[in-house]
Symmetry: C2
Subunit: 604 residues, 2 copies
């Protein structure tokens, strides 16, 4: 799930400094405490808080199954209620720390159980403070129990605060992430501050599972993968292709209206291009293996479209009269993600960006940026993604990594804020979040499940025009350097369609549905008329379902395929020259003639 | 120039057995004779007839320039007129042949001049006949002159027959095509049987030079290449992209009408796929360098789309009810042509086929083949390529290389002929011209210059369904093997647009012109109205030319850009709410209102 790490909106505290983060970290310790009691001799390694919860990696002497989680959870509940204070204990020296690990952390279960902790201790740099966190209690008999763990902290003050948690799943994980090391058992859990939040999270997870675009993509026939072709390289099936084309046709029209010009560039290029653009250094890890041609060059699958559009810009002398030049391409890019990082079409190895680069004069930056933001918002609205927030990434004035003049940064940051204000969009400013080559605007949308996704970044760039020494001849007859704007309202077609599939749970709006209308004759004698109707509606994506199946079965199957409208054709329809309309959401809508149907569909 | 080798239409004699071929071969000898006289000591190597003429590769002691060709040509004319008989002389032994070379071929100019001929003699397999061809004359003084050359022949009977020839150009060529050998001078010439044919050929060449798509492509801003990106990898500029989209939009609509379904597949795949398809063996030489992933696989740029569509077919169990399944894709393929073989977009390293694969039952083959031929002919007609001939490539019954049963071959060949007959298309049958995996239909079009191009091959295939073990469940409940049809009416978008650029000399028909209408306000006060007109016509590709230049200059430049229609806007037009239409071909068409203009354009 490629969601956005959320800030606490009131306080702007980053997640890793928040109370929730501490709470989850403490929940990890609580889980470890329960497990050491239930599985004596198990060896703890690390147990951090993570984006949506926490985990602990542990070496068990016996295999743990999902069924065992409820037992662990139960013990955690009991331990939490005991209101054990969680306190920090500082080791006075490395020897002291070793002593604590061998004596206290092992709980008398043998030194062998401490091997990972000892390794972790060794990895702490000389001079750094070494701390332990302890949760302890005294039982009715007056006997003291404690659990102590090598840990940087911080934690909440008592186990009593850890109320709303759940253990989620078990996975394998290599010690220190290295496949040559021993495989440990990772137990994932999550924790929240309130019961409602936990409940909502679990509901969203459950719902997300049902809406998983990989499952829906298969059920609805949108896309596929094949081992013969390779991981992460999607093949678009006819219905997925129809959605893609509905999206691209829509955006192309919008872009033409706004003076964009389409271009088409190769999917690969000589290493020379990426040397010049700088991608060969910054992106090499993400690139597909090279196609070695000769000593002088290799061909490389393109990780970005920008250098190609720059080559087009640079192919002739440009005048200020030609600017702004807006070059747009549905350009496929390639990132050699690790197999484990792939996630259907949400994270693939090849994906097609709705990319465009605007080459503008400084005087045009403000208006052009506004135009791009308007276009992007129009696109998100059309897609039904209307719940979003805006974040302006600006420069950290104390950092020296940024390229471009102060004057230009001022201008660009002002232009971005101007655009937001002009269209009345609230935004937060995130200082230090700019790229080294320019400030940017991120639109972060919230889907039907309330999950946040970063979409539609608009990025100002001073770096590439410099690297490629781009120029235009100004009104003064002298050469000037243009500014570039990068933008991609969809981000990528793959990611957007994956997101929309989950957002709509596969029930796409009429305009983008792969099959918009199913025409269903009840019996063979209705087929001829049904064919006529299907033909009359051929400006839509119509499927004629004339299979010899019962009407009930045909309606059910088209409903499962989430076809927005069905036209049921029976005797009465032929008699009265009508169709009986059935809506995916609203069921039977009554009978109407074609004229009325067209009107209805056009006003959706 | 990727033209078709032409058959003599009456006699069906292949070119290399024709009289014209002999004539050109003799012209090469005549040229060599003239050169040995004019450049004593030059060393002859080989001098064959080729597609459009002949050449001779010679080592000169001094550099030859284009200016020298007329001198050689003049001497050739004189020698031709002398009516020297060309006779064959057979060597009785290898020693005899060596003797002839050293004594007679050198013409007393030293043994050194014979080095290439001696090497050629060595290369003649033991047991083969060794022949020489001689042209000789006796001068007025009664002295005998002769020119004798090691040669397989055949030749025309006298130099007198060589009347209509011309030396064309000079190039460098390595001895035996090996860069490690000495570079020789290659002189190209051509010869024809009649003066008219030679004249026509030279006219076509001259005209073709003017229409060269590489030059027009630059002048009209259609496409570009860049060294940073790599040879043979075209970038489509906005105007070329507009043509591409006009073509693809048109074909997509036609295909939807005929029940094709669009798919989109990756540009690269694992070597496993091409191993399975057999391309790894048959196509390896033409493939881009591999992207080595691990020992088990490499990624390869796809040389063909077929295996990808097959993976889609094979991704689920298919029923006869789903057939014919017609999968269409504008699929980019990659061929690693040698740099020297590249020719703009006519021969590039990446090009986009308008590819489709039809999976059909044997019973459907006939109708589906007919449908494909109808579609292809409709496409060629729309493109204005109406002068074409058809060739059916059938199996040679005596050859054992063909796969598939006799029954299937019968069926397929009958289906192809049925399609031709049904639509009343004349065709020739070319026995032995089938691929090993199925018979085919080639459409060979003739362009505005009378040059022939092989387009729109429709190919039946029994091999790939076998290799991938494709199946469908028939009406009988049993698995059956489908037949595949490959087809691509445009061939590739690149080659087709290159051809159309030359065919139309850049003056594309209205529907595919990158800019269809230029709106030209005469003065600044006409701009507002011109903008309104441009906006009203935004369903067309309109360019508003409101530069502050004279009307004459703007008309001239739009004419040079071959814009089909200009709308000139002046005072009178604003007053009367009209536009003044100017046609690229017909000049001034008078003034009309928008309603009339729309009518006019829609009826083009």
């Amino acid at each position: 799930m490629s969601q956005v790490s959320t800030l606490n909106k009131e306080t702007q505290i980053p997640y890793h400094e928040s109370h929730l983060f501490k709470l989850r970290h403490s929940a990890a310790h609580l889980m470890a405490q329960a497990i050491t009691e239930l599985y004596p001799g198990c060896k703890l390694s690390i147990g951090p808080a993570i984006e949506n919860g926490f985990y602990y990696d542990i070496e068990f002497s016996e295999a743990i199954k999902e069924e065992d989680l409820s037992r662990i959870e139960k013990r955690m509940k009991e331990l939490a209620k005991l209101d054990q204070p969680i306190t920090c204990k500082k080791a006075v020296s490395r020897d002291d720390a070793k002593n604590i690990i061998l004596k206290e952390c092992t709980l008398g279960q043998g030194e062998e159980t401490a091997i990972y902790k000892l390794e972790l201790l060794d990895a702490i740099p000389e001079g750094d403070a070494i701390t332990f966190y302890e949760q302890s209690r005294t039982d009715r008999k007056g006997e003291k129990h404690h659990f102590i763990d090598l840990c940087r902290g911080p934690h909440v003050s008592s186990t009593k605060q850890i109320k709303h948690f759940k253990l989620m799943s078990i996975a394998g994980a290599y010690w220190r992430g290295n496949v040559k090391n021993k495989q440990l058992t990772r137990i994932y859990g999550t924790a929240f501050e309130t019961a409602e939040e936990l409940e909502h999270y679990l509901y969203v997870l459950e719902e997300a599972k049902k809406r998983d675009h990989r499952i829906l993509g298969k059920e609805l026939g949108l896309f596929m993968f094949s081992k013969n072709i390779g991981s992460g390289l999607p093949l678009w099936l006819p219905k997925g292709t129809a959605i893609r084309e509905a999206l691209t046709d829509f955006l192309k029209k919008e872009q033409i209206r706004r003076g964009y010009q389409g271009v088409i560039t190769p999917h690969l290029a000589s290493s020379k291009l990426f040397e010049k653009s700088g991608h060969l250094i910054t992106y090499k890890d993400k690139m597909f293996p090279f196609m070695e041609d000769d000593d002088d060059q290799a061909f490389i699958m393109k990780p970005m479209n920008c250098p190609f559009h720059i080559e087009i810009y640079a192919s002739q002398m440009r005048s200020y009269r030609e600017l702004p030049l807006r070059l747009a391409e549905f350009g496929t890019v390639y990132r050699f993600e690790q197999s484990g990082e792939l996630a259907g079409i949400l994270r693939a190895r090849s994906f097609t960006q709705d990319d465009a680069h605007l080459f503008v004069t400084p005087a045009q930056l403000e208006e052009e940026f506004l135009g791009v933001v308007e276009l992007t918002m129009g696109v998100l609205k059309k897609l039904g993604l209307t719940d979003f927030r805006a974040r302006v990434g600006t420069r950290d004035p104390d950092d020296s990594k940024y390229v471009g003049s102060d004057e230009n940064w001022e201008l660009a940051q002002k232009s971005i804020e101007y655009a937001c204000q002009k269209i009345g969009m609230n935004y937060e400013v995130s200082q230090g979040d700019a790229a080294f080559y320019g400030p940017k605007l991120d639109l972060i949308i919230k889907d039907a499940l309330g999950r946040e996704w970063q979409m539609g970044t608009v990025q100002v760039d001073y770096n590439l025009p410099d690297r490629f020494q781009l120029e235009y001849i100004g009104e003064d007859g002298l050469p000037h350097r243009p500014i570039m704007i990068h933008r991609a309202p969809f981000g990528s077609l793959e990611r957007m369609i994956g997101l929309l599939t989950e957002h709509y749970s596969g029930a796409f709006p009429f305009w983008m549905a792969p099959v918009q209308i199913a025409v269903i004759p009840i019996a063979d004698r209705h087929i001829e008329y049904a064919e006529k109707i299907a033909h009359e509606l051929n400006s839509y994506r119509v499927h004629l379902d004339s299979r010899r199946e019962t009407l009930g079965k045909k309606i059910r199957e088209n409903q499962l395929q989430k076809v927005p409208y069905m036209l049921i054709i029976g005797d009465k329809d032929i008699e009265q020259n009508t169709v009986s309309l059935r809506s995916r959401e609203q069921g039977d809508k009554g009978s109407m003639n074609l004229e009325e149907l067209r009107n209805y569909l056009e006003n959706l």
